[in-house]
Amino acid sequence: MHEQTEDIWADRYDRQIRFAPIGAKGQARLANMRALIVGCGALGASLAQHLTRAGVGKVRIADRDFVEPSNLQRQMLFHEADALAVLPKAVAAAEKLRAINGSIEIEALVTDVNSMTITAAMENVDLVLDGTDNAATRLLLSEACFARNIPFIYGGVAGAEGMSAMLIPGQTACLRCLIGDEASVEEELNCDTAGVLSAAVDFIASLQAVEAIKWLSGNRNAVRKSWVVADLWRFSVREFTLPGCTPGCHICGGLADENIVQLNLPRSESIARSDVLAHREERKHRLQAGTDETPPAHAWSQTLAVALCGRDSVQVTLPRTFQLEQWQVVFERLGYEIKANRYLLKIGLPDGERLVLFPDGRVLVQGIIDADKALRICVRYLTDPLEMQAEEEART
């Protein structure tokens, strides 16, 4: 039986192996490689599908969100049933990916990748693919990748446009050097402000996936060292050379190959190499220890509220965990509308907002963009269940 099963799948990768640059050797390499895909929306689902079909040994997907009907137009791994069941995207995606290729390992992380969780998410991976929808997470990923000396493959899409670039420690500049890290800049173009066409997503995901396959199959010299900008509607595809590492940058500097550095800076600006390396080391330790704290936006100690721009929701991260069943009982008793599965609990509040609770202490407050208001809602509804019960009993 087992023998027979193996025979059936013997040709699984045949057409990929026939592609000369991959060959049997490249295919074997892929089987030993591990990729992390952060964000499993439109880009992430497409990326995960490419890597899974290609036979990358271990595909880890991390996502903080759940499937909604508005995702189905472009997020290729999700079905109507997933939206109806409000499944976390990572879980719904993993299920499909396992059905596509049972011979590799698929790992789903239902989590927000931030400075506290990035260490676990990036453990034992050979590269990171970008399926996120915001610059802040991308900057964090870029920095973490450079600290670990692994590539970060950026992709972004909005409307019928997109961009992609593979950032490689020691060879290219980091994302921060390319786009800056000012916190107050206007939100970049995204799917909520500009809409998005599914075909544009796949175009950009393909640009990312092919570079990942090159790198992971051992074809490192074949990687494209450029930033590609594409507009599929007007049709234009432009390619720009990526600058090398920036001397003095605490993220990508100090790793520079002398040949790549073309900048002719006055002496004072070329910070001593050892300083840069020392800073990088320190930063790396902090990142690895998970102690690289993002300052909380609000005084409510250890609580982080992040408005998910254009999404009409705020993500609140509480310094606690949730026993979902317990909370389900509480809100059912209050007569609120509930959607529940083993990964999350969605509650319709009387004023129209929705709370989505995850066991790790995260809450998505939907129907609101004001972080302070979201926090107040959390304080109001998510104090201890026993207190709420007591309050409820006192009222009745």
């Binding site: 929306g41 929808d133 899409v157 921060r176 970049e188 720009f240 006055p266 004072s268």
Partner: protein, 283 residues
């Protein structure tokens, strides 16, 4: 001397013997001239008149050999005696009119100013140049409140005679001062207090050159495939001119992406081919 282009200087150096104990004044100052300093001032507030006269005579000889204007701080009589090119006076020193009367119309007179008001007065009085500072707190003149780069910007906008930014300027903060509009810098301890004054001078001149090389008037460039005139001197100014500073942008010049930190050092040349693209964040 005034007929010559004395005002071409970009780096002004001032003596401060206490910053180089064990090294001869003339040796240290010669290093600054080797490094390209374009104006040299003798400032000795503590020595006896004889000391100052001796130093002035030596530096006059040195600066003549390098064909660099020589200025004496405060001592109008010594300036006349050693045939210096001029004097530099502070707000509390000899009145400008008196200095001019003693020196005659052809000698240079520089005036230290600490506010736009003082600068405008010095300009009206007929000063040849002014000092603008202290831009940053300085040990050379302790206890004097820094005027910050805001005053440099005011001076750049309203003063027509040469002005020299001074006070706590080092290679680390020179960019900010130049960005504020200064085109002539003066550093004291950063230069004469260093092990290698010539190298520091060269680094300063390098920096100044990055700013003073800018085309003064508008140039025609290709921006996102279309011709456009701009008076922006660097990429950062161009992005600002286009009203895009608040957006996350990727900038590319002649086919190569320019790192965000290099925007302000990237000079806009005529016919530059520039693409400014808003970062795409969706996923």
């Amino acid at each position: 001397m005034k007929e010559r282009a004395w005002s071409d200087f970009e780096l002004y150096v001032i003596t401060a013997s206490t910053h180089h104990p064990g090294r001869e004044l003339v040796d240290v100052m010669e290093q600054t001239l080797i490094g390209g300093a374009g104006m040299l001032q003798l400032r000795n507030k503590t020595g006896s008149r004889e000391d100052v006269l001796r130093e002035a005579a030596a530096l006059r000889k040195l600066t003549r050999a390098y064909n660099v204007p020589f200025i004496v701080n405060d001592y109008v009589d010594i300036a006349i005696q050693v045939e210096a090119d001029g004097v530099h006076i502070g707000q509390d020193d000899i009145p400008f009119e008196e200095a001019r009367r003693l020196l005659g119309p052809d000698k240079l007179i520089g005036v230290s100013t600490h506010s736009l008001e003082q600068a405008l007065k010095a300009e009206r009085d007929g000063a040849d140049y002014i000092g603008v500072g202290p831009v940053y707190p300085t040990n050379t003149k302790p206890g004097k409140a820094a005027v910050t780069t805001a005053y440099v910007t005011e001076a750049a906008a309203q003063i027509h005679i040469p002005f020299v930014a001074i006070g706590g300027i080092t290679l680390d903060n020179a960019d900010s001062v130049l960005e504020a509009g200064a085109r002539r810098l003066c550093a004291v301890s950063a230069i004469v207090g260093s092990e290698d004054p010539a190298a520091v001078c060269r680094s300063f001149l390098n920096k100044i050159g990055q700013y003073s090389g800018y085309a003064p008037q508008s140039v025609t460039i290709m921006l996102n495939g279309e011709q456009r005139n701009t008076s922006a001197r660097n990429l950062e100014e161009l992005v600002r001119e286009l009203g895009q500073s608040h957006k996350r942008m990727v900038a590319e010049l002649d086919g190569v992406i320019v790192s965000r930190g290099m925007w302000r050092n990237t000079v806009i040349q005529p016919r530059a081919d520039i693409e400014l693209i808003q970062f795409v964040g969706g996923g």
